[in-house]
């Protein structure tokens, strides 16, 4: 019964079967098991006596069920009991009970669910306690389990595994006077400290209402937008707002702060010394050009007449005549003071070089063209001189016919028309001659035939004996120009990058000067003989002091373009350089007799006048032998005199 009542409370579906059992006393004793287990047997369980309860012989099928549903008025209250396999018709009471349960009401009709509440625990103090049990002992003594827990915590705290709750400070009291005592021990570390530079302060550009000139024009704005953010001069576009109300938030504010942060901790710092020099202090203090006079200052005469570029000029030792050789195939003789062309000799080829014999007692001119060197006697002097030069030329006539047939060089007399023009001698060379130079005494003559491949580049001719010789047996590089020492028997040979000095008597090389330039163009020797200047095609002019070293004493980069010609004055401490940029620069170069004092070089004048033609400016420059005048010949077919 107990079991039944239990099931009664728990499951309403089994209520029916229990009730049914009370009426008919057919009880299945198999218990609450799935009916399917007896599917294959004829019985469905056992009754109280242990007899089998058999299934009804014929199962109702669908049709029976349907008919039953149609015909049987009790059908709706018929329930099929699966455990006994029989149909049970419910009574009215039972139906009522089912309905009540379905509605969620209590099964018992008489049960009152809303009984008045009896307050056991109320605000009123009762005279009698509800229970009169004496209090437990455990309510007086501390709990053991709690004690265990606490002791565990205490142990954990003791061991440092657990930290007691920290007292939160509100931050108000956490500041104090940190710098109350300033100790110097920390200061020591600060020597290497480089404080970060401060952010530059904003200029007028950054104003919300800048003056109009600080705003960008359209072009500036376009340029700003085109530029890479790193290249921009201003990191923002200046804007103008008519009132403070209209100024929007700056979108890059956080960015800028962030970048500053990055700079502070990521940017490598370096202490850089700022040069704060007055640029005027950098300019060297030189003697004033005024104090170094005389030197040529103005262009006073222009010699016109040539139709091609004038490659070379030379002044007679007396200083009265000027000879010039040009690409138009003529050699002209000018009177220096009047700029008149006294004489013109057609030589029939582009003249590369002219050189007046430096001996004042003769009047001869050497002219180099193609592979010939001509000796001209212009007869532009008094009779005495002309006679003496005739004598010099005829002296060898007697001891004629060069004994040593050098083979390659042929001396010959000029005849006919040429003789009338003043050409006296022809020296035929095997190759094109570029330069002729006289020795100071006027008897020897050197000619240069630049050729990279052979040792036959320089010839020295003796005029009085009509003899030629090649002093070098080996090729030492492309010879650019040569020069005789004014006093001693030295011979200067400038190759592409260096100058060699040979002793002609001992027949050996004495010195090799390194010019430190790419390609030497010209060279001049100081009349004292201890200093050499050389110009080069890479715009440099180097001054060598032979007593000091083989390196240039000074490199002058005055010209903008290739230096074509250099010259020393014979008497005054002046030298000049001519360049393709159309200028002649005159410098003052004092050389002291005292060996301890280095030469003083001061540029004193830049002379301009030549017109640039075919990218060529001034081609040659030379000084007047006695006056502080300088002649220059240019590619514009003129010769100019600066006084």
């Amino acid at each position: 019964r107990l079991e039944a009542s239990g099931s009664h409370r728990s499951r309403p579906s089994s209520v029916l079967c229990v009730m049914h059992l009370e009426y008919k006393d057919i009880r299945n004793t198999v218990g609450n098991i799935p009916v399917e287990w007896y599917k294959d047997f004829p019985h469905i369980g056992y009754n109280l006596d242990g007899k089998k309860i058999y299934k009804p012989i014929r199962n109702k099928d669908e049709l029976d069920d349907f008919l039953d549903k149609m015909e049987n008025p009790e059908y709706w209250r018929t329930v099929h009991d699966k455990q006994t396999g029989s149909d049970i018709v419910l009574s009215d009471d039972q139906v009522e009970l089912v309905n009540r349960l379905q509605r969620g009401q209590f099964g018992d009709v008489n049960f009152n669910e809303y009984e008045p509440m009896v307050e056991f625990f109320s605000s009123d103090v009762m005279i009698h306690p509800i229970t009169n049990r004496p209090a437990d002992k455990r309510s007086f003594i501390p709990s053991l389990t709690e004690k265990e827990k606490v002791s565990k915590l205490v142990h954990a705290i003791k061991m440092g595994w657990l930290k007691p709750r920290r007292v939160e400070d509100d931050g108000r009291g956490r500041y104090y006077d940190l710098w109350a005592s300033e100790d110097s021990s920390i200061l020591a570390r600060h020597r290497m400290h480089l404080p970060a530079p401060k952010i530059p302060l904003p200029g007028h550009h950054e104003s919300y209402n800048p003056p109009p000139e600080y705003l960008f024009t359209d072009e500036e704005r376009a340029l700003w937008e085109q530029q890479d953010p790193g290249d921009r001069k201003l990191p923002f576009v200046p804007r103008k707002y008519s009132s403070l109300r209209q100024v929007p938030a700056f979108s890059h504010f956080i960015h800028e702060r962030f970048e500053r942060c990055l700079d502070l901790y990521l940017c490598p710092r370096q202490r850089k010394m700022r040069v704060n020099v007055n640029p005027e202090d950098l300019i060297p203090q030189l003697p004033k050009p005024k104090d170094l006079q005389p030197f040529p200052t103005t262009q006073s005469l222009v010699y016109r007449g040539h139709s091609g570029l004038v490659r070379s000029i030379s002044v007679s030792p007396s200083g009265q005549w000027l000879a010039s050789g040009s690409d138009d195939g003529s050699v002209r003789f000018w009177e220096v003071c009047s700029s008149r062309c006294m004489k013109m000799v057609q030589v029939g080829g582009a003249v590369k070089s002219v050189a007046w014999n430096p001996n004042p007692s003769v009047c001869l001119l050497a002219v180099a063209l193609d592979s010939v060197v001509l000796i001209l006697s212009p007869s532009l002097a008094d009779k005495q001189v002309i006679l003496s030069s005739e004598r010099l030329l005829s002296a060898q006539q007697e001891g004629e016919e060069p004994a040593e047939g050098n083979g390659s060089v042929v001396w010959s007399e000029a005849e006919g028309e040429e003789l009338n023009q003043g050409v006296r001698l022809k020296i035929q060379h095997p190759k094109a001659v570029h330069q002729v130079v006289w020795h100071a005494k006027g008897d020897y003559l050197a000619s240069v035939m630049p050729d990279n491949t052979s040792h036959l580049q320089v010839y020295i001719h003796q005029l009085s004996r009509r003899r030629s010789q090649n002093p070098f047996s080996r090729n030492k590089g492309l010879v650019q120009c040569v020069s005789f020492h004014p006093i001693r028997p030295y011979f200067f040979v400038a190759t592409q990058r260096s100058i060699r000095i040979y002793n002609l008597v001992k027949q050996e090389m004495t010195k090799k000067l390194q010019a430190n330039s790419k390609w030497i163009s010209s060279m001049a020797v100081h009349p004292g003989g201890d200093h050499v200047i050389c110009g080069s095609y890479d715009c440099k002019l180097s001054w060598f002091d032979l007593d000091l070293s083989t390196k240039p004493y000074k490199m002058l980069r005055h010209h903008k373009k290739a230096v074509r010609g250099v010259a020393y004055h014979r008497l005054y401490p002046l030298f000049a350089s001519a360049s393709d940029d159309g200028s002649v620069i005159v410098c003052h170069g004092t050389v002291y007799n005292d060996l301890l004092q280095n030469p003083l070089i001061v540029p004193v004048k830049v002379l301009r006048g030549h017109v640039m033609t075919h990218d060529l400016g001034v081609l040659d420059v030379t000084f007047h032998p006695t006056q502080p005048w300088v002649f220059s010949s240019g590619a514009d077919a003129t010769i100019r005199l600066f006084t």
Binding site: L187, F236, R245, H255, Y265, P284, R304
Partner: protein, 587 residues
Amino acid sequence: MGGLQKKKFERGSATNYITRNRARKKLQLSLPDFRRLCILKGIYPHEPKHKKKVNKGSTAPRTFYLLKDIRFLLHEPIVGKFREYKIFVRKLKKAYGKTEWSAVERLRENKPTYKLDHIIKERYPTFIDALRDIDDALCMCFLFSTFARTGKCHVQTIQLCKRLTVEWMNYVITSRSLRKVFLSIKGIYYQAEVMGQLITWVVPYQFSHDHPVDVDYRVMATFTELYTTLLGFVNFRLYNSLNLVYPPKLDSNAESEPKEESEDDYAMNSESYLEKLSALSASLARVVSSAEEEEAQLDHFPTEGEDMEKMEAREKELKQQEAQKKLFEGLKFYLNREVPRESLAFIIRCFGGQVSWDKSVCIGSTYEMTDETITHHIIDRPSVDKQYINRYYIQPQWVYDCVNAKVLLPVEDYFLGVTLPPHLSPFVEEKEGDYVPPEKLKIMALQRGEKTGNEQEEEEEEEEEEEEEEEQEEEEEDDNGDEEDDEEEVAEEKNLKKMEEQRSQGKSLQVKVTPGKLKVENKARLEQEEKAEEKRLAIMMMKKKEKYLYDKIMFGKKRKVREANKLAAKRKAHDDAEKAKKKKARK
């Protein structure tokens, strides 16, 4: 011979530097921790003089730290704290994973924290050092105090920044040390002189920030951590130096008044207190209630010559500064609701003015708009309905310009609806040869005390322009003269050529004598030319190194001049256009 072979890179600069990765390994720190440590300790990379030597022959780009710096970091107690924090995070993760909420709570309560006091003391051994470096701290704190609670950083940080900046502003007000202000398109720049140090900071305009995604807020937060500590200590010291109570308290007699108004608006008392402080309208309580401030007077020492002059100059400057401090004294301002309240209230109070605003704008307003004693009403709208007669209605720029000019500027240019004059940067100090905008010249004239009416000025301007035109003409004439000279020469040459040609053609020359012209030689000019030539020649003789330096300096100078000229030309074009427009309008 003999001896040990010297190995490369074992002495000298190679051993003084260490690369970042090696430094990190040496310190056994992760990269974020290393970064944090560098930020807090102020360790920065150094650029070695010979990079290749330091880099052991390699030219790969690397950042180098000084080995000494890294060694110094080894002993930093904060490194231990970093490790503790790492352990804490691990434990917390574990507790979360095991869903042991009580453990999580307990761990959270004991989250390891660290103090930066010793680092501050170490980085800034003296107080002046700290003040010198406080620019960045202020900028950062002001920026963070404007952040909303967006989760970009801790709310506590924002609140702390807000508190510290308010304290700072209150100090500046009380000490009256503000010197310059500048409204830029980025924000508002302020410059204060505290204990002889010029401190500049920038405050963004009050808008919500559009937080960029490519900014690492952790870096910023680390910096802010350091900066808040620094600023707190600096504030404490500054408040002490003025005998003010720190943390700041409002003056007790002034305090009672605003309290009555809006007690209920704020849930927490402390919050409302901070708001009241940040309203900047009340003065602060002092430790010792002092009477009037003593005027600082320079003692006179018997001095001679130069010192005397210097002394006088200093005295003058001091006087001027004293006058500037009292610029707005006696003036009563009222701020309309559309103007930046905090900035204006700060500036006005810094120069001794009284300021108030509408009650609904902010707590702490002291008087109503209807107050008859208000002298200036700051307003930033084109027109206003009801105007009181006995006050000026001016635009906010007036306040800023007055502060920079150090005098009260005429209010006419700043009236309601008037086109404002340009706002110039007070930080630009024009040297000789720099371009000075005409507005600056005007202000400088005002400072000197020259009062020029508008009309007069215009006349003057016109005269000036005429003069300028004349000058230009003269210049042109000069140029023409030069050209004429050249032309003459050319003509002579041509003449000569003609003659030559004629001669060469065999024609007889026409003999003709033309009267010569007297060439007037300008002595001064000749002298100048001579000097110029001398200089040119001397420059030719310069050494290569010096020449390079000289050219560089001259290039910089020329560029400066060019820029100034460009600005002047631009201004002139603009003015001409304006004038033309005006004329058209008149017609």
